[in-house]
């Protein structure tokens, strides 16, 4: 099977390194915000929107219990006896640990118990708002292969093999928008979380020893305003193009990589038409984001379930 290490691919070009690192960094920040928003979202709505809330809350209150400070506090505070409030959970004290009767050998604290209960609720909420219980199908005869967070879409046509690879990790762009009005945060105004992963298209002809590889991105359009603003970017763009040995999993760094930033526009249009002829067009791009969003959500729920199991008993 033709393929390359996806992580390796993202580090390949001189210009790509800077952009990818910045992009990766931005996406890591966005991931942190997204995770925080999911973990603090208590809104049960029929829509697939999630609240984007501050990373740190001032207090969390469980029903019928004393206020519990958020777990983002420093260890110094948790071990310090100088108290503002009376509650002071001990991290490294046997008093905070519950008797471990399960025999798993793991630590069980009151915090773990609360964490587990919290995760239970989160999992239920996320499953309620899960848009697609099964992954949406792509039109155009694409065969889907999954390997955790990595997906491959494969198609053969007239002796050519087209493979599209993407990874849902770090695929949700940061949602930069104006501050919401004070006290006005209705469910209708919550941004919808959409996964727009970079994707790599490999086209291999049966007679050729090389594959033509396209690195494609969804533009993060900063011109989109709320209300009357109009998007004026292509639905997806080609960032880089390169020939790579077919059947080889290692990225060949010495192959010339065409960067489209300063490319002749006519050549760019021919490349886009080339992809469109092979089924990678705007329809495909839209369907890919739907598939990626559903896969990302599914993986997130699975992660929460595994985390729940790990916290309770490993």
């Amino acid at each position: 099977m033709v393929g390359w290490s996806f992580g390796k691919r993202q580090q390949r070009s001189r210009l790509g390194n800077c952009r990818n690192q910045t992009t990766t960094m931005l996406k890591s920040i966005s991931r942190a915000v997204s995770i925080a928003s999911r973990l603090t979202n208590k809104t049960a709505t029929a829509s697939a929107t999630r609240t984007v809330e501050p990373l740190v809350r001032s207090a969390l209150c469980l029903p019928n219990s004393a206020p519990i400070r958020p777990y983002t506090r420093s260890i110094w505070m948790m071990c310090n006896n100088g108290a503002v409030s009376g509650y002071r959970p001990k991290l490294f004290s046997s008093k905070g640990a519950l008797p471990s009767s399960c025999g798993c050998g793991g630590l069980h604290t009151e915090g773990d118990k609360a964490f587990g209960e919290f995760l239970n609720d989160e999992i239920k909420e996320e499953k309620k708002i899960q848009k697609n219980k099964t992954l949406p199908k792509m039109s155009g005869g694409w065969e889907l292969e999954l390997n955790g967070t990595e997906a491959k879409l494969i198609k053969s046509l007239s002796g050519e093999k087209v493979t599209v690879t993407f990874n849902v990790n770090n695929s949700i762009p940061p949602n930069v928008e104006d501050e919401p009005e004070q006290g006005q945060k209705s469910a209708e105004n919550e941004p919808e979380i959409v996964s727009t992963p970079n994707f790599v298209v490999e086209v291999t002809k049966s007679s050729a020893k090389q594959a033509l590889v396209f690195d494609c991105h969804f533009p993060e359009d900063e011109q989109v305003a709320h209300g009357e603003g109009e998007e004026e970017s292509d639905i997806f763009t080609i960032r880089e193009v390169s020939f790579q040995p077919a059947g080889d999993t290692d990225w060949k760094e010495t192959s010339y990589t065409l960067n489209t930033d300063s490319l002749d526009w006519a050549l760019y249009d021919h490349l886009m038409d080339f992809l469109a002829d092979r089924g990678v067009d705007n329809t495909f791009a839209d369907e890919l984001t739907e598939l990626s969003t559903a896969l990302e959500h599914k993986e997130y729920i699975t992660f929460l379930e595994e985390l729940d199991g790990f916290v309770k008993c490993n």
């Binding site: 004026e232 639905i235 526009w265 006519a266 249009d269 038409d273 067009d281 705007n282 329809t283």
Partner: protein, 168 residues
Amino acid sequence: MGVVIRNLQHVVPVRRARLRKDVETLRHILGIQKFDVGLICVDNCKMQRINNIYRKKNTPTDVLSFPFYEDLRPGKLPCGLHRDELNLGDVFLGVEYVMQQCKGTSQDFHSTLTVVTAHGICHLLGYRHETDEEWKEMFQRESYILAEFNRLTGSRLEPLSKKYSQES
């Protein structure tokens, strides 16, 4: 300086290279090679929204032009410009609308799109069709452009026969 093409829709498959090639020929005929032009392909939904916002008409249409220079005398190019000012504006192409029209008349989509684009570029150059006189002037200009286009490419394009009522 060149033509920026953006395809914001997925209803109609648009051949970008073909559109660019035809528009480059139009630019050559009009003598506007040094000016930037933007072409944005949109579907009926987006076209309707733009038409409503800017012309208060809540319907899709085939083309909407947004000239950079709003007070040009028809066909008179601005001169003495700084490099940053060599921009004629943007033309929004309602490709879904055009495709629907072509299905009704059995015309070739991309050829019709070229005709519509020529019309849109004429609007960027100050041509209007709000009065009969303006429409006649614009029709004559379009006819000349398309005749020259046909001569250079061997095509058989004709101006669209209906009277446009859109403003640019």
